[in-house]
Symmetry: C2
């Protein structure tokens, strides 16, 4: 008999009503009396389970009552609609075969578990409701991002991961090597001529620089790939390995860039709400009250656009006892981000940042003090995207690199992009996990990455 | 005036005919006489250029005749259909402004260049016809892959990149570290307690093991992410950094796996042929004669399924003077792959390989000698996918790991998947660049990766 999925049954219940169907999946719960029992079965195709009813007419009834959580089984039965019950239908089993009976030491027994415990069981946690929802939304959001950019004519570009460039100049790169460290220790010298690439290389912190090269050929490109930071910070929003989306657009200034960021975010939110209603309802109910309302409100809100200077003025005028005092020419703190999104009651683009706290490649404004950078702050999640118009003038870019004491030898090619058909162009980066925190209401980045890597943690 | 793209003009020529439109892009060629000139303009939105005609009615005519290759310009003009000419329409310029005049040292002047030279100019090569086609197909193929799996209900899963597991057991991992190698050399010792993750870690060679964990929750998952091999081989088909697609399916045996592989490949080929007709025509004409015919033939061919043993028998019976003599129980060489796809005149699944030349996780067949592995060989590109049914029995898997002298401590969790709801399951891996070599007819893997990494090469 053709195998169906639980998703098929939910999406097309009428077709299957009163028909015999076959399923394979895992036992989520098993309750029973002396003459009948109920299995909540999940096959991973859908967030919801299906209820399987079995009774003593089955020859292996005595085995079925002993079925443990997470056991794998095959079920044949008749789909019966149950309009008066909690679930819209159930499957009355005509045959159940057991493929693997899980032992009782299965770590995720029925009782609730803390997210901290579940992190230690990262290989099993997608079997729980919370993580089942989170990682299905992760998949859906990834596809929404691809669909958005593809529908707008962007080319998907794979930036290199191993690189000699520290694109952000922050010095927080992991080193990649094939040198035998024991031999380095015993020989007393580091010979990069013998290393795999013949030089000191590391893991990329951004694909932007290479992305700009491709934007100068395709007009519009986006990356969607891993990025790495060897930053020793243990916060809820930092991971050592994460995924980034970095669009780069030729003939695009800062205003047009903000249009794109706003349009993209609304598209993703709308698409995920439509495609994952069961998951979003679960999160709204058990994890983040008002999550759906927050996201729906975003769809119709107009994002505020304001300069960094005007933001500081608002913060200074606020009758708030700041932990960090807001200052012109300086960065803003988490408490300021929160205040400003509440002040405008929605997402806020903050533009024209002090150049000294931003990266070398940003377009230098005429005032000599600021750059054409933009951060997007969203209610409840803080900074979601960071972008800028790029400095397209060769001499200005070179001077800025010299001012910052950067070596230009590895970035000759990047400078050359300002000689050969340079144009006004802009781009932004969005941390995929930051987006997921915003979309799911889950607070810790460790809980939106399948197998997170943080300082001291590299399990699985 | 609203800006349009060259793609808009090609896709909707009738709408724009005799109307004034605006474009921004780069000069591909510029020919002129004393009174008029022709610019081939490309904006990256489309493989083809648009011809811009300008004449002395433009006040900056004398500047326009000096426009160099790769200069960036803005054009306003009227779209005029030219049914009798080579191109279906042209744009008669009413205004052209120059954003950046490229200097004459632009490395890609009009004359042809070798692919070897263009590799050194990797940041500029997407501006050539060949690489413009290749990397647009790369983007299209990536999306075709996502669309295939999403439409079939698979969950997109991001496997970790930094890991302590050598999933293939081949020992070809790059090490990732934040230890200061100069200090390691001077101190004479390697202290992993001080390393970022507190232990020896490296870059993943496969996401399969983690993928299996997620398949046991979602039923069907696929990865699409980077993979790394510190293998010192300089061949046309090896890169140190590449992208892999690794689907994993619960309740799926080897035969069903082959169904999926065949279905997926046909879907991708069909989709790319439909979405990139201009690029495929170019490649068919200038790079790989009969490319389109080869791919179209694949769509209707039935893939052969044959055991490794039967393949060896065919090879032994062949009247061919082999460089490598085919032997039962041993791997097959490139010349054998080529022969067998020609013998069956199409793609061939070779199943049930000798266990000693395959990985530890593969399902052990009853004969005690072979495993339920399958390689897909395609005409003209050799091995395109490698997959297997996975060993779902805890004891058999553990014994095999012991036989191979593997440490099981880091893979306890992987073994546990065989305790907690284990089931028949299968998966395969497809190197994305191998697929692109097959799709584009380009022979060298360095020419289908934007910025390739190979031994001794880590530029840009």
């Amino acid at each position: 008999m053709e195998k169906f999925t639980i998703k098929d049954l939910y999406k097309d219940t009428e077709t299957f009503a009163d028909k015999e169907i076959s399923l394979a999946g895992w036992v989520r719960t098993n309750r029973n009396s002396k003459t009948f029992g109920f299995i909540e079965l999940n096959d991973g195709s859908f967030f919801k389970n299906v209820q399987v009813v079995y009774d003593t007419t089955l020859s292996n009834f005595n085995d079925l009552v002993k079925l443990t959580i997470s056991s794998s089984i095959h079920v044949t039965g008749v789909l019966v609609k149950t309009p008066e019950a909690k679930q819209p239908f159930e499957v009355r089993a005509t045959n159940v075969t057991i493929e693997c009976l899980s032992p009782n030491d299965y770590p995720l027994q029925k009782k609730g578990h803390t997210v901290e415990f579940l992190r230690e069981q990262a290989y099993l946690r997608p079997r729980t409701n919370l993580f089942s929802a989170v990682f299905r939304i992760r998949s859906a959001a990834a596809i929404a991002i691809h669909n958005y950019f593809q529908s707008k004519g962007y080319v998907y570009f794979h930036a290199p991961l191993i690189t000699a460039n520290d694109g952000e100049g922050a010095g927080e790169m992991f080193q990649v090597t094939t040198l035998d460290l024991d031999k380095v220790a015993s020989s007393g010298k580091v010979d990069y001529d013998k290393d795999f690439f013949g030089k000191h290389v590391g893991l990329t912190v951004t694909g932007q620089l290479e992305g700009e090269a491709f934007a100068m050929a395709y007009g519009k490109i986006y990356t969607f790939g891993p990025s790495f930071r060897a930053e020793n910070s243990n916060t809820k929003t930092h991971a050592s390995e994460f995924w980034m989306i970095e669009p780069e657009i030729a003939f695009c200034d800062l205003d047009e860039l903000m249009d794109i960021e706003e349009d993209m975010l609304k598209y993703i939110v709308k698409d995920v709400l439509e495609r994952c209603p069961e998951e979003m309802e679960f999160l709204n109910k058990f994890i983040a009250p008002n999550l759906i309302e927050k996201l729906q409100k975003l769809l119709t809100s107009k994002f505020t656009r304001i300069t960094h200077e005007d933001v500081i003025t608002i913060l200074k005028d606020a009758k708030v006892d700041w932990e960090f005092k807001p200052e012109y020419g300086e960065d803003i703190a988490k408490e300021h981000e929160k205040y400003i999104t509440e002040y405008f009651n929605g997402p806020v683009f903050i533009t024209n940042w002090p150049k000294d706290i931003k990266a070398f490649y940003m377009k230098q404004n005429a005032d000599g003090k600021t750059v054409a950078a933009v951060d997007l702050e969203v209610p409840g999640a803080g900074e979601l995207m960071g972008g800028s118009q790029r400095e397209e003038n060769y001499d200005k870019l070179l001077n800025r690199m010299h001012e910052l004491g950067m070596k230009t030898s590895e970035l000759d090619w990047y400078l050359n992009l300002r000689k050969y058909g340079s144009c006004v162009h802009s781009g932004f980066g969005m941390g995929f996990e930051r987006l997921l925190i915003y979309l799911t209401g889950v607070e810790n980045i460790r809980d939106v990455i399948p197998f997170p890597r943080t300082p001291g943690n590299c399990e699985f």
